[in-house]
């Protein structure tokens, strides 16, 4: 769910994020806000003046470290909006989560490919034969930043707090019945029913481990200067400007972290971020616009990485408004989208057309899912069979200042015209767009998603199962046969059977065209060539303990 925030001129600014620097709305959506609008001025070509030719590296993934990592150094990362809060049970902003993930750690962590989990604060874990409880053995010798050892009581407190905090991430823990602590280093998590996503849920940031009873502080005091077991300890925060974390000298992974400190600086303008990286005032540029990547690749001592992400862009069609209750209308529109053209114009070729509502870096994604691809003949045929064979007029609820949204609307407008469908564009600001789509007060609009954990259920539930409390990705889609499949997949522990279920779900979801799947987007990062070991997970988070200068 999260959103990867970025500048308005980049694709990711689209739906979700916001934070604008502001508020990150949801992790996903909010961020976007932040970035939004204003930055639209200033564009990459200006930078051309400074970049000179070619002695640069450009890689496409990884940031593998070579040789022994050097100790020391103060890393500066520039991003387009600030974190908002360190409360892991409530905050949805990616900027906040990626920061606090260096302070609190989960029992199990997502693997680098995003397809599973690996032991972290728990050394091992085992499901019971009835698949209704999981026994985790805690790593010994792990200490919180205040020196107190981490025990099972802390784990129980951390998970229970998130389960009972309303209006936050408690939905992730909705299947958990109870957490028990047979001894100081054993934790048993019992679920209400067999729950296949359990381990992935435990890796979700809301289940990071903090000391029991907030180490004697009130909740507000604790989150104002939080402690955890992570590689970095709380430093200073000038809100809206910079947040600094310092090295944890007694981190449980001996020898790490390498850096003395990490500072996230807020630099709203994408050109300013690029210039700061080039001028040596920053080491990592969190979200360069895709339009600027070619230029950045030609900048000396700067390297551009495209990390596989779970970000997927969609078009939402509100089935509570006619004619979108008609599957043929939705399919016609989905066929009329030239996804290759969108990837070229919006991502400058740095992405791939989507074939499923799930993304390749999520477990159980089916690459053979046919999806619906661009085909104007089929679009015409579908529309002929629909309730509005001669076309209709509809309104696209656009997020103002969002270049991705605008580009999608324009490409779509042109193809729909051929079908006799008139697409009017109504611009509102991101917060309003979010509010209106959430209340199903729109006809057609753009949105996107990024995952928070290594299991498709988080998205399957949100997008396809209105019984979980939402509106099926704000579309009003409600298909009992698909809901049933989603519930079956939640309880299925056999991987082959679970794959079969998710393949069926993906095929049926594609056929129903409840969303039009657009494209998969990588996470772009520009880093100084001195930065070693920096890798971004498909959720957007990263492990700063592996990074050196």
């Amino acid at each position: 769910m999260s959103d990867h925030s970025t500048d308005a001129s980049t694709p990711s600014a689209s739906q979700v994020s916001a934070g604008l620097r502001v508020p990150d709305i949801s992790r996903r959506r909010m961020l976007q806000l932040g970035a939004l609008g204003i930055g639209a001025f200033a564009s990459a070509p200006l930078l051309a003046a400074c970049g000179s030719s070619s002695d640069t590296s450009t890689g496409t993934s990884s940031g593998a470290s070579s040789g022994a990592a050097k100790k020391g150094g103060d890393l500066v990362l520039v991003r387009d909006h600030d974190a908002v809060n360190m409360d892991k049970t409530m905050v949805f902003s990616n900027a906040s989560i990626w920061t606090y993930a260096q302070i609190y750690e989960p029992l199990v962590a997502m693997t680098e490919d995003g397809l599973g989990v690996r032991p972290w604060l728990a050394e091992s874990y085992e499901m019971s034969p009835d698949n209704q409880s999981c026994t985790l053995k805690l790593r010994k010798g792990v200490k919180f930043h205040n020196g107190q050892p981490m025990t099972s009581a802390d784990v129980k407190f951390s998970i229970d707090e998130s389960s009972k905090t309303k209006g936050g991430w408690e939905f992730i823990n909705s299947a958990i019945k109870e957490v028990t602590t047979p001894d100081d280093y054993t934790v048993v998590v019992t679920t209400k029913y067999p729950w296949a996503p359990l381990l992935a849920d435990l890796s979700c940031p809301n289940n990071g481990i903090i000391p029991k009873d907030y180490a004697g502080k009130t909740k507000d005091e604790f989150y104002a200067a939080p402690i955890g077991t992570g590689p970095f300890v709380w430093g200073t925060w000038q809100k809206g400007s910079a947040l600094t974390l310092k090295k944890n000298p007694s981190y449980w992974q001996s020898g790490k972290p390498y850096l003395d400190s990490v500072t996230w600086k807020v630099v709203a303008d994408s050109n300013a971020r690029a210039i700061q990286l080039q001028g040596g005032q920053a080491h990592i540029n969190e979200s360069p616009p895709f339009s600027s990547l070619a230029q950045l690749k030609n900048t000396p001592n700067v390297k551009v990485d495209l990390f596989p992400s779970t970000r997927t862009d969609y078009i939402m069609m509100n089935q509570h408004k006619k004619p979108y209750d008609d599957v043929h209308v939705r399919r016609a529109i989905s066929y009329a989208i030239d996804r290759e053209a969108l990837v070229k114009t919006i991502l400058f070729g740095n992405g791939t057309p989507a074939n499923s509502f799930l993304m390749p870096s999520t477990p159980f994604y089916d690459k053979n899912c046919p999806g619906i691809q661009y085909d104007m003949n089929k679009a015409r045929e579908e529309l002929r069979q629909s309730s509005v064979p001669n076309g209709f007029t509809t309104t696209w609820l656009a997020m103002s200042g969002d270049a991705v949204d605008a580009a999608i609307a324009q490409v779509l407008q042109a193809s729909l015209k051929e079908l006799g469908i008139t697409l009017n564009i109504q611009n509102v600001d991101p917060s309003a767009q979010h509010d209106m789509t959430g209340k199903l007060d729109y006809e057609i609009a753009h949105s996107y998603w990024t995952m928070d954990l290594a299991d498709p259920d988080e998205l399957a539930q949100f997008a396809l199962d209105p019984t979980s409390g939402g509106h099926s990705f704000d579309t009003g889609f409600d298909d009992p046969s698909i809901i049933d499949l989603v519930h079956q997949a939640q309880k299925e522990f056999d991987k082959t059977k679970r794959q079969a279920l998710y393949s069926e779900i993906q095929a049926k979801a594609a056929e129903s065209a409840f969303l039009a799947f657009l494209f998969y987007t990588p996470f772009p990062y520009a880093t100084a060539s001195t930065v070693k070991g920096f890798k971004v997970l498909p959720t957007g988070s990263y492990h700063m303990e592996d990074v050196s200068l």
Binding site: M1, L20, V22, I25, R28, G34, G240, I275, D429
Partner: protein, 313 residues
């Protein structure tokens, strides 16, 4: 003493202005679509979760009672608590306001540094080559948007020459001083042309007045006539022009703040609007209003100091 009474009067007259502004802002920000709770909770939020948070924020109460609560807090000097950041609005403002004030001060300083010598030179060499150049070239600054001008300055003086940081505000006073130069010059380059034109015109008028002719005929040096006698009189009207423009600038420093990554109050304002952070928007608007009034007040006081005929009443 006369300044003190005047200032007190102006401060008192500020109260109804602020009340009016608080009223307008309070209701205006709530009229635009978009909900703070939905914005904070993001796409995953269920309608129940949104309602729960709105309850906690006090948004479910009648508007009028919300406004009265806000006013009540305001009277106690409490601007409220930000919906987005876990901190008070006052804390957010006290962090970002000094940056913007620095920017305005530095902008004014560089404007005077650029405008006064050029205007004096142009007026003294009226219709000469220097005058024509001075009248034509600075107009370019008027036409160039601040984000372009700013980036050009950063590229040249930050990146190529390395004299100034390419952005940011730093932590120490020395870093603040270094960091504020280019933004200040950016502001000055857009402000100076206006001041130059106004000051040049009044200088020309003053230079042709009788007492200047008398001064010349008494044998006083041209430099002293121009700088000592003419400039002070000519400056009176330009101070007003400068004041009005700085007051205007107060609400529009955002672009400069953004280009130079200055964590100022303009940036904070935009963030708050996008986040529907009502308390912060209200607080910052009041601060803007106070700043405009203060700049106008300073302008009037300066006006009076330069021209004793102007009575502050």
């Amino acid at each position: 003493m006369r300044y003190l009474v005047y200032v007190l009067k102006r401060v008192v007259s500020l109260i109804p202005v602020l009340l009016g502004i608080s009223f307008i802002v309070f209701f205006l920000i709530r009229l635009i679509p978009g909900d703070p709770a939905a914005t904070l909770l993001g796409v995953h939020a269920t309608p129940e979760a949104i309602k729960e948070l709105r309850d906690q924020m006090g948004l479910e109460k009648p508007l009028l009672s919300q406004y009265l609560t806000f006013l009540g807090h305001l009277l106690q000097g409490n601007l409220g608590y930000s919906y987005v950041y876990s901190s008070s609005v006052l804390e957010l403002i006290t962090t970002s306001l000094p940056v913007t004030i620095w920017l305005l001060v530095s902008g004014t300083f560089f404007t005077l540094l650029i405008a006064v010598p050029l205007a004096v030179l142009a007026a003294a060499r009226r219709n000469g080559v220097a005058d024509n150049i001075i009248r034509a070239v600075p107009v370019v600054g008027l036409g160039l948007p601040a984000f372009l001008l700013g980036i050009v300055l950063i590229l040249v003086f930050g990146l190529k020459l390395g004299w100034f940081p390419v952005g940011g505000y730093g932590l120490s006073l020395a870093e603040h001083l270094r960091g504020i130069v280019l933004p200040g010059v950016t502001v000055a380059l857009t402000l100076a042309p206006i001041v130059i034109r106004s000051l040049r015109a009044s200088m020309i008028e003053v230079l042709s007045s009788d007492y200047i002719v008398t001064a010349h005929s008494k044998g006083i040096s041209t430099a002293r006539v121009v700088l000592g006698h003419a400039l002070r009189n000519a400056a009176v009207s330009s101070v007003t022009v400068l004041g009005v423009n700085i007051a205007y600038l107060t609400g529009s420093t955002l672009v400069v703040e953004r280009v130079f990554s200055l964590p100022g109050i303009g940036q904070q304002m935009i963030n708050s609007i996008f986040g529907r952070d009502f308390p912060t928007v209200q607080g910052i608007t009041l601060v803007f209003a106070i700043m405009v009034v203060v700049v106008n007040l300073l302008t009037d006081v300066a006006h009076s100091a330069l021209d004793p005929r102007v009575q502050l009443t």
